[in-house]
């Protein structure tokens, strides 16, 4: 059923027979199998309600915040099941960035970057803190813009800057994988371009999984694409070949704008 026309060389994540249901009858994700390539951008596309966000959230167990969720199957991170690990370990190794920029409103820019350490009660000395903040902000190309106002509130930044701050907050933990849930849908075109540029740059160091509603964004920046429909993974392949020559008629219909 799944048109799987790729072979992944170095999988970081392996999703095995993953099914997720919000209640007994309503499956949001149905029996998904996929491997995610190391140091690449994988885009998950599909119409609204196809389960792409649920799948993404399952990768760092954020979906467990919903009460009475049912999860079957497994996800392996470098060969270890994330459902055997502690959630805190999973979420430190697999970071997540959300649709709307959500810096902590009570914290300064500086504190936002090291929020993961602060909130988890991990003690760092001042040099370590400074180093992490500077490195993370340089990685998201925000350092030059905010280095003089590090102790101002993060909410004073523009939307695009806030979103890059949120990415920096995730990078501060030095994760293996970064998950992004429609990271640019609340941003203007210029801020979007900056974030996209940043993601392409970040894939040298990190594995990136991106949910997007925007097909052209997937085409622009992703290396691999998944197409989901009604909770099923319909097609998974190299972005180039999928956009030029989709194997599944449903994928073709979606890509040509027949529905979505």
């Amino acid at each position: 059923m799944i048109e799987n026309n790729i072979d992944i060389q170095n999988p970081v994540l392996s999703i095995r027979n993953l099914s997720i249901a919000y209640d007994e009858k309503k499956f949001a994700v149905k029996d998904v199998n996929a491997e995610i390539e190391h140091n690449a951008i994988t885009a998950i596309m599909g119409p609204s309600g196809c389960g792409k966000s649920t799948l993404l959230r399952a990768i760092n167990r954020m979906h467990e915040l919903y009460p009475s969720i049912i999860t079957k199957g497994d996800i392996l991170l470098n060969g270890d099941s994330i459902y055997q690990m502690q959630t805190i370990q999973v979420r430190r190794k697999i970071g997540m960035v959300f649709q709307r920029p959500n810096p902590f409103p009570t914290m300064s820019i500086y504190d936002n970057v090291i929020a993961g350490y602060k909130l988890n009660g991990i003690k760092l000395n001042k040099n370590q803190r400074d180093e992490i903040v500077e490195k993370s902000l340089i990685d998201v190309t925000l350092w030059d813009e905010v280095k003089d106002s590090l102790f101002k509130k993060g909410t004073f930044l523009s939307g695009g800057q806030q979103q890059r701050l949120c990415i920096a907050r995730t990078l501060a933990f030095n994760p293996d994988v970064i998950l992004l849930d429609e990271p640019t849908s609340a941003l203007d075109p210029i801020a979007t371009a900056k974030v996209e540029e940043l993601l392409v740059d970040l894939k040298k160091k990190y594995t990136i999984v991106l949910v997007t509603h925007n097909m052209s964004q997937a085409a622009r920046i992703s290396d691999y694409s998944m197409f989901m429909y009604l909770g099923e993974l319909i097609e998974y392949g190299k972005t180039n070949s999928m956009f030029t020559n989709p194997k599944n008629p449903k994928t073709e219909e979606y890509l040509t704008g027949k529905f979505g």
């Binding site: 370990q89 430190r92 997540m96 929020a115 909130l119």
Partner: protein, 297 residues
């Protein structure tokens, strides 16, 4: 078509203008009626009370009948102040806050986290009922539970327990409402960093809703600070400064009550009332400022 145009013609401009001004006058008149009591009260308190307020007022113990009487006979100002009342009120309010704030905030968080569970609804309803319990009843409860069984005598503890019960519903409700205003995305941001649930509550939710929590607490304090009835049955009053929780303690409203009942000291009610009124007013202004500041950000 014809019916509508008829209606339009019947209603001419002059009549509309007259009706408009009548309505306008009515609105202004009614709002003046609404605010005039508070203006009259405050001006009366200031006119009668301001003369009594001086340095001694804040540093001296309340006078006894004899002192007041001899001052009156000699045509002097009544000596003394209300320092035992001020310290007593602060002591009782702080004790009540220490009891009510943690319980209230934790209950409020619980209600917020379990919005639709039946026992959360049950607690919410009970809280609403608690808010309606007359304060004198809480005084009786404080008397029965604490005065008779714990401190074996009138005590600050009994009074502050009764006042804490009065504060609880206000704090619980304001906590729940403020927590609702913290965006879900902030909680998610914490969870995505692997922060455990209790730390999200303590380090993300409470700081984000801090101004709201403060406002709720200040309003609860200004609600109880003038309470007299429960204190009459629990703390009784004291002619000296007291900071022991198992001893009778004075409070500003209790002093006002005593002054009122003593023909020699009745002049002192104005200054004491002015002080109490000013205190509540300041608390209200602070909480309004906090709300305005929060809305600006």
């Amino acid at each position: 078509m014809s019916v509508r145009s008829e209606i339009l013609y019947v209603d001419n401009t002059r009549q509309r203008k007259i009706r408009n001004s009548i309505f306008k006058i009515a609105v202004i008149l009614l709002s003046v009626i609404t605010i005039s009591p508070i203006i009259l009260i405050i001006s009366k308190l200031i006119i009668e009370g301001i003369g009594q307020i001086n340095f001694d007022f804040f540093t001296q113990l309340a006078p006894d009948t004899f002192q007041a009487m001899s001052a009156k006979i000699n045509g002097e100002k009544i000596p003394g102040g209300i320092v035992n009342g001020i310290t007593g009120t602060l002591f009782i309010v702080i004790l009540a806050s220490v009891m009510a704030i943690p319980i209230g905030i934790i209950t409020g968080i619980y209600l917020y986290e379990n919005k639709n569970k039946w026992y959360a609804n049950f607690i919410r309803n009970i809280t609403d009922i608690l808010q309606g319990v007359p304060s004198i009843v809480l005084g009786i409860i404080g008397y029965l539970w604490i005065v008779k069984n714990i401190t074996y005598g009138f005590s600050a503890l009994a009074g502050s327990a009764a006042l804490a019960i009065m504060m609880l519903p206000l704090i619980i409700r304001s906590t729940e409402e403020t927590m609702k205003m913290v965006p879900e995305s902030i909680k998610e941001a914490g969870a995505a960093l692997g922060v455990p649930y209790h730390r999200i509550i303590l380090k993300v939710m409470i700081p984000s809703s801090f101004s709201g929590l403060m406002t709720g607490i200040l309003l609860a304090v200004s609600r109880i600070i003038g309470e007299t009835a429960p204190l009459l049955l629990t703390t009784l009053g004291s002619p000296v400064i007291n900071f022991e929780i198992d001893k009778p303690t004075s409070a500003v409203p209790l002093l006002i009550w005593n002054f009122y009942n003593d023909p020699n000291m009745i002049d002192l009610i104005w200054s004491s009332s002015l002080f109490l009124m000013g205190f509540v007013l300041i608390l209200n202004l602070i909480s309004k400022r906090i709300i305005a500041h929060k809305e600006k950000n």
